[in-house]
Each structure stands twice: as structure tokens, then as C-alpha cells.
């Protein structure tokens, strides 16, 4: 479904990605793990076109997308939940969700989807007229995920959904990620620090170090890999 071929991305003259290759098939949950500053966020930004790669190629359903504008990429069905949630603080919860459906014109379906999101996250339904900025961190993360789902993405890019959340809330969010994947057949690309949980839900995983992919395998294999165990799972 998505093919990232040898992309190199720069911030000014700082090279953040030094040739990254990733392949994602339809219906998969793929995770990308790595240390701070490895370039995980940058990889997502390059896919969604917000920080376009300077060289290399990104193919979505066989079509090259690395030259497209971010809004064109969203309209193809790739939606990103950016790192740190980035919800709109002064818009209400339901307005935030509406922004997710910005490119859609089928308002009846949008309404239905909003109800679906409220089913997934009942807490959001209770808070629907509250300003986004007044939600708790966990609720904001749920809102960010819900907002991205409102775009009806075929590929959902999640950047550290567990950031700063209590273990129970993290578990809840991961269950929903799994649910979205099985119920809607949404393909999910999950960037995580919490390697343990990420490898549990994902089918396959990539390990990133200093702007390069150093390992890629099925989750089961990665979990027993000695290096991964040492570096990311905290087991020695």
C-alpha cells in the first residue's frame, strides 16, 4: 500500500533521514520504534508531505506522492495524528472532529462518523461542547485520534499516541487502535517509544537509529531479538 524508497529529509542543512525504506501492505499495523531523535517523527512528516523529502520516493497505492502538497496527500487517504496531539484548543470537541472531516463533502456520512467516534470514545461525547484545550491529556489524545479518523483515512499515521499518558489510558488507546484496524480495515503506521506495547499490537516492526532503518522483522521476532531487548524493551 505504502512504499517508502530511500528517502532523505533535511531540516535546513541538518540531515534527519539518511535513506529510509519502509513497506506497508493493506490492513497491516506496522510500528516504527527508535530512540529520541532517531527521525521517527520526520519519517511521518515526510510521508504526509509537511516536511517533504529532498530525495527518494514515496508511493501510495503505486502513485508517487512525494511531490504533492500535504492537503492533496490527505485527500488520497493518508491522515496523520501529529506528535503532541495538536488539537485546536479554542474549538469545541465536536468542532475539532469536524475539522478532521474538512475535505469531505458528504455531510450525512460525516455526522454518522462523528457518532461512531463518540461510540469509540464515550468520554468525548460527554465533553462535546467543551473547548479542546480544557480536556485532559488522555482525552486530548483520544480527540486527536478521533479527529484523524473523521477523515476516513485508508492509512492512519500515529505519532506516539502513548506520550505522557497513564498506563491504563495507554492500554485503552491501543485497544482502540486494534479495533480500528480490525473493524474498518484501516492500515496503521504507529510510531512509538513504548516498544513493548507497540510490538504487541503490531504485525511487523521497524527499528530506527540515527535516520536509518537498522532492523525490520515481524513483531514476534523483534520481541525476542537480543539487541531490541537490550535497547528498547529494557530487558538485559
Amino acid at each position: 500500500m505504502l512504499e517508502v524508497k530511500n528517502i532523505k529529509t533535511y531540516y535546513g542543512n541538518i540531515q534527519a533521514l539518511k535513506g529510509v525504506d519502509i513497506q506497508i501492505s493493506e490492513g497491516e499495523i506496522i510500528t516504527l520504534i527508535g530512540a529520541n531523535g532517531a527521525g521517527k517523527t520526520t519519517t511521518l512528516m515526510s510521508i504526509s508531505g509537511i516536511v517533504p523529502p529532498r530525495s527518494g520516493e514515496v508511493l501510495f497505492l503505486g502513485q508517487p506522492i512525494s511531490d504533492l502538497q500535504p492537503n492533496e496527500i490527505v485527500s488520497l487517504g493518508i491522515c496523520q495524528v501529529p506528535e503532541g496531539r495538536r488539537i485546536f484548543p479554542y474549538l469545541t470537541v465536536s468542532e475539532n472532529l469536524d475539522m478532521g472531516a474538512f475535505l469531505r463533502t458528504d455531510s450525512a456520512e460525516v455526522k454518522k462518523d462523528q457518532e461512531y467516534i463518540f461510540e469509540l470514545f464515550p468520554i468525548l461525547a460527554e465533553r462535546r461542547n467543551q473547548a479542546g484545550g480544557t480536556l485532559s491529556g488522555g482525552e486530548q489524545q483520544m480527540l486527536a485520534v478521533g479527529r484523524a479518523l473523521m477523515a476516513r483515512p485508508r492509512l492512519l499515521l500515529l505519532d506516539e499516541p502513548s506520550l505522557g499518558l497513564a498506563p491504563l489510558v495507554v492500554k485503552q488507546i491501543f485497544e482502540i487502535i486494534k479495533k480500528i484496524n480490525t473493524e474498518n480495515k484501516t492500515t496503521i503506521f504507529l510510531v512509538e517509544q513504548n516498544a513493548n506495547l507497540a510490538l504487541k499490537v503490531a504485525h511487523r516492526g521497524y527499528v530506527m537509529e540515527n535516520g536509518r532503518i537498522t532492523l525490520s522483522d515481524t513483531s514476534a521476532n523483534l520481541m525476542v531479538n537480543e539487541d531490541v531487548k537490550k535497547a528498547y524493551l529494557g530487558i538485559s
Binding site: S48, I50, Q69, P70, N71, I73, V74, S75, C79, Q80, V81, P82, R86, I87, F88, P89, Y90, L91, T92, S94, E95, D98, M99, G100, F102, L103, A125, E126, R128, N129, R147, A148, A151
Partner: protein, 409 residues
């Protein structure tokens, strides 16, 4: 309420004021007789006056803080009085009728002078609503907005001078020129945000003014363009008085048109995109909003209204020169938006009325006029930092969930 520490603080303030004003209020040197007059009674007046003023000030600040705390803790957001007013049909419709009657009768009841300044205020309503799109909705701080105002004014003046085009022909042309310049000047500054954007737009505003001032062959430089005709009415000959009334009604029409269009824009997809862009750019891009186009459209649409206002300004004053388009003008328009209430249409209207009419009516206080005006602005910003009428966005309501909310609070 009247705690000892409050009294002590006010006392200190009054002492400080007595000390500060001592040289000018108390000592009077008579240079002819070489005597010094000590006016101690004035010192007492200053002391007592500042004591009470500081006391009042503290009292209202305290009241405001406790009021704020109440709304913060309450789960259900308090409706503002303006929201209640517009939602209650019984009050809303009659007041709308009353305002319309007042507006229609205004020029016939009040003097020519009053009508004239009301027309000026209405120009600021239109221009302010335009800037409101840029600053209030899209959150782009534009300090060079007057450039587009100048573009409109000079469009009319020059097209009339060289080609004899009339007001009604040029009005849409002025709007189009405003739009065009909005796009041209908008492109290079779109990457910037906040302070940087403010500085660059300020520069652009000055560039336009300097061009008008120095390009003599084009704009007749600092001496400006005179004898610009007032708006015509099917070739009828109007007396000055009739013309002033006529312009008043043109501006009323233009203002209503602006209010309608801006109101619609605010509730449209584009309006939502502007508001979202103001809050978080990266999130907007992730949601598929075209950043460049959205920003550019805010800039250009804002400039369109400035262009129209400029045409009207030229027609009203019949004489324009670059001195009418200094940075000061930009700041006044920005004040209209900020003091009225950023992003709120009704607020901007009130802001324009207050800012343009107040200095006129304060003329009674002659030399203290500007001092009072400044004091009023400061007081307004302290007590209503969100503007006279803060932005009330249309929110979506789900009636079925009201009970649910109650359980939760």
C-alpha cells in the same frame, strides 16, 4: 471588603501621587515678582482624589477577578449577555427594528456635522471588518493594512482624473485592486508568523506610502489629488447637504453588505479553516487544509474591503494625499478590531463607533481630549481584554445530550 491592607495600598498610592505631582501642582513660581506660591490645598485635592480613584480601581479589578473565577469553575459556560440577546426573539427583533429606524432617521434628525462623522465611522466599520478577517479570524497580524486603503483611494482618484470614471464604476474596481494587491503583497509574507509578519507588513505599508509620496508623475506626490467628485446619483445635481446624506446611506448599504458577507464567510468552510489555522498550523496541514491558499485568501479578502473603503474615503473627502495613509491609520484600524473584540462582527462595529465617535464627542473637553481618550482605551483594555464584545462563534448543539451533561457537572 474594605480590608485594612486595601486602604493601606490606596494610601501609599495617594502619597506617591502627591509626591509626583508636587512640582507641577503645588509650586508656582512667579517670574515677574520673583515669588514662590505654595498651593497646599491642591496637594490635598490630589491626595484625596488619587486615594478614591485607586480605591475604585481596586474594587472593580477585585470584582472582575472573582467574576472570572465563577465562570471558570462553572461547568456549563455562561452565556454572554449578547448571546442571550440575540437568542431571545422577543428582545432581538424589536431592538433590530429600533436600530433600523434610528439608522434611517439619523441624518434627518442630527446635523450635517454629525452625519458626516457617522459616515466616517461607517467607513471604519467596513475597513475594520475587512481587517477582522485577517487579524481576528486568520490570526495574521497585519500592520500595513492601510496600504490597501490607499490603493483603493488612489484607484478612484487616478481613474477619475485620467479617465473620468465615476464612483460607482470605480467601487468594484477599487475592490478588485485591493484584492490584487492583497495577493501580490500576501505571497512573500505567507511563510512568516506573528511578530515577523507584523514587521514585514509594516514595511510594505510604508513602501506603498513612500511610492505615492515620491512618484510625482504618477500620484502627484505629497501635494495629493484634489477635486475628486463625490458619488453621483443618476446625474442629478445634489447640494452639499443632500450629498452628505446620500453618502451616509451609501455607507449604510456598504456596511450592511459587508456585515452580511463577512458573517457568511465566518461560518463557511473557509472561515473554519482560518480559525483552525490561527490555532495550529501543523494540525491544519495534517487535516488537509491548504495552508498557502487559506492564508492568501484571508489576506486578499481583507484587502478587498480596504480597497472599497478607500474608494469611499476618497469620494468623501474629495482630496487625498499620502499623509492620509500613514502607519497611524493602520494602528487605528487595528485598534478598532482589537478593542471591539477580535473575530466578532458586532464587536468590530462597536469598536469603530467608539474609536471614531468618541474623540469627536470628547471635543468638549478641548485640550484634555486625547488624554481622556487614551485613559478610556486603557481602562477598556484592562476590564475587557477580549474586547467590547468578545467573539461568539456558532457552536453546534446536540439537544439530546443536555441531560447527560447535567449528570456530569
Amino acid at each position: 471588603m474594605f480590608s485594612f491592607s486595601e486602604i493601606k495600598k490606596s494610601l501609599l498610592i495617594s502619597l506617591w501621587f502627591m509626591f509626583l505631582t508636587f512640582p507641577i501642582m503645588v509650586i508656582r513660581v512667579n517670574t515677574i515678582y520673583k515669588t514662590i506660591e505654595w498651593r497646599w490645598d491642591r496637594m490635598i485635592m490630589v491626595g484625596v482624589g488619587s486615594f478614591f480613584l485607586s480605591f475604585l480601581w481596586r474594587f472593580f479589578i477585585g470584582k472582575k477577578e472573582t467574576g472570572k473565577k465563577k465562570t471558570d469553575t462553572g461547568e456549563v459556560q455562561q452565556l454572554t449577555w449578547i448571546q442571550r440577546l440575540t437568542e431571545n426573539k422577543k428582545i432581538y427583533l424589536p431592538s433590530l427594528v429600533a436600530i433600523s429606524v434610528f439608522v434611517v432617521l439619523f441624518p434627518f434628525v442630527f446635523s450635517m456635522y454629525q452625519t458626516n462623522i457617522m459616515t466616517t465611522a461607517l467607513i471604519y466599520v467596513v475597513v475594520g471588518l475587512g481587517l477582522n478577517i485577517v487579524v481576528g479570524l486568520a490570526g495574521l497580524l497585519d500592520l500595513g493594512y492601510v496600504a490597501f486603503y490607499a490603493v483603493g483611494a488612489y484607484t478612484y482618484a487616478l481613474l477619475n482624473q485620467h479617465f473620468g470614471l465615476g464612483f460607482w464604476t470605480v467601487l468594484p474596481l477599487g475592490a478588485a485592486m485591493g484584492f490584487m494587491f492583497g495577493v501580490i503583497l500576501g505571497f512573500p509574507v505567507l511563510r512568516l508568523r506573528g511578530d515577523y509578519l507584523a514587521i514585514v507588513t509594516l514595511g510594505f505599508g510604508e513602501i506603498i506610502r513612500l511610492i505615492l509620496e515620491n512618484w510625482n508623475a504618477f500620484s502627484s506626490g505629497p501635494s495629493g489629488i484634489a477635486n475628486i467628485p463625490r458619488p453621483g446619483l443618476f446625474g442629478l445635481h445634489l447640494s452639499l447637504h443632500q450629498n452628505i446624506i446620500y453618502m451616509y446611506f451609501i455607507m449604510i448599504g456598504l456596511a450592511i453588505f459587508t456585515i452580511f458577507i463577512v458573517g457568511r464567510l465566518q461560518d463557511s468552510r473557509l472561515g473554519r479553516a482560518w480559525i483552525a489555522l490561527r490555532e495550529d498550523e501543523v494540525a491544519c496541514q495534517a487535516m488537509g487544509i491548504d495552508k498557502t491558499r487559506t492564508k492568501l485568501s484571508a489576506f486578499a479578502l481583507g484587502a478587498t474591503w480596504a480597497g472599497m473603503g478607500g474608494v469611499m474615503f476618497a469620494a468623501k473627502t474629495t482630496f487625498i494625499n499620502p499623509a492620509s495613509f500613514t502607519i497611524w491609520e493602520s494602528i487605528i484600524i487595528l485598534c478598532v478590531v482589537v478593542i471591539g473584540g477580535m473575530g466578532s462582527v458586532l464587536g468590530v462595529i462597536c469598536g469603530a463607533m467608539v474609536l471614531i465617535l468618541l474623540p469627536e464627542y470628547l471635543r468638549a473637553f478641548s485640550e484634555y481630549r486625547m488624554l481622556l481618550f487614551g485613559a478610556i482605551l486603557v481602562i477598556m483594555m484592562v476590564f475587557r481584554p477580549e474586547g467590547i464584545i468578545s467573539n461568539v462563534r456558532k457552536t453546534y448543539k446536540f439537544e439530546g445530550l443536555k441531560d447527560n451533561n447535567k449528570d456530569n457537572s
